[in-house]
């Protein structure tokens, strides 16, 4: 299966908050309009980003803001914040290989560190991408369109 769109939506959310700060109050309704999903989906993601210390959301009056320096927010941070894969394991291992079979007994041992290497490769690349990069590029694109 694919990695949940929660990741791309969360990045979209952060890009919006940064782009429109000062201009509009960035509420979950406003964000829902840009992303084109239900506002509850937005609020659920904002709540996870808040728990991760990336954004702050003000109750009552409304509006979200980013509270961590953009170059200190990596794609990996967001990926972890929105919990795209259960228990941090990218690969789903079949649960009950037959322990009486010599292969079934050892398949976990053989595969675990290999799968971990693959996951690490992916996460390392995610670490290299920051919201500062993404927002700089977004702003530059927007600038060239106006």
């Amino acid at each position: 299966m694919q990695i949940s769109s929660r990741l791309t939506i969360a990045i979209h959310i952060l890009a919006c908050i940064e782009t429109f700060k000062g201009e509009h109050k960035v509420t979950s309704d406003f964000l829902a309009g840009s992303v084109n999903v239900n506002s509850v989906v937005i609020r659920r993601l904002l709540s996870r980003l808040k728990a991760a210390g990336i954004v702050d959301v003000t109750r009552g009056t409304g509006g979200a803001e980013i509270i961590r320096p953009l170059d200190k927010i990596t794609m990996l941070d967001i990926y972890h914040a929105v919990d795209c894969v259960e228990s941090g394991e990218l690969f789903h291992f079949h649960e009950n290989p037959n322990q009486k079979c010599p292969v079934g007994r050892n398949i976990h041992t053989v595969l675990d560190d290999k799968l971990d290497r693959v996951q690490q490769a992916m996460e390392n690349e995610m670490k290299r991408i920051t919201m500062a990069d993404l927002i700089a590029e977004t702003k530059s694109l927007i600038h060239n369109q106006t």
Copy 2:
């Protein structure tokens, strides 16, 4: 979401075929017993591995064998063969960002090549792992247990 256990099951299947060749006829029922899943699941995976030119399955009399040199079967080959992610895209992008919003209009452009870099990093690491490695390690573990 996690990547389907089809990958780890397929690897388990290949390890079994190689380990037991000559000793037993490796049927889908035999494999189902080692992996501990329904034999139809095994047959479906074998059929994909066959389509990818990795194994051959003999109808009627039964039994599967590996027809590609083990060091030419990478984890990426298997991953692709069993189609763990739809249309080869690891990340699911939210479908309809609002084109009237400057961020919604550009988010795809900004993210696509970054997501691709991450996917490439993962696939490159998968390319480095071959069935030859996995089977050598499995056999060595089995040997030390007897």
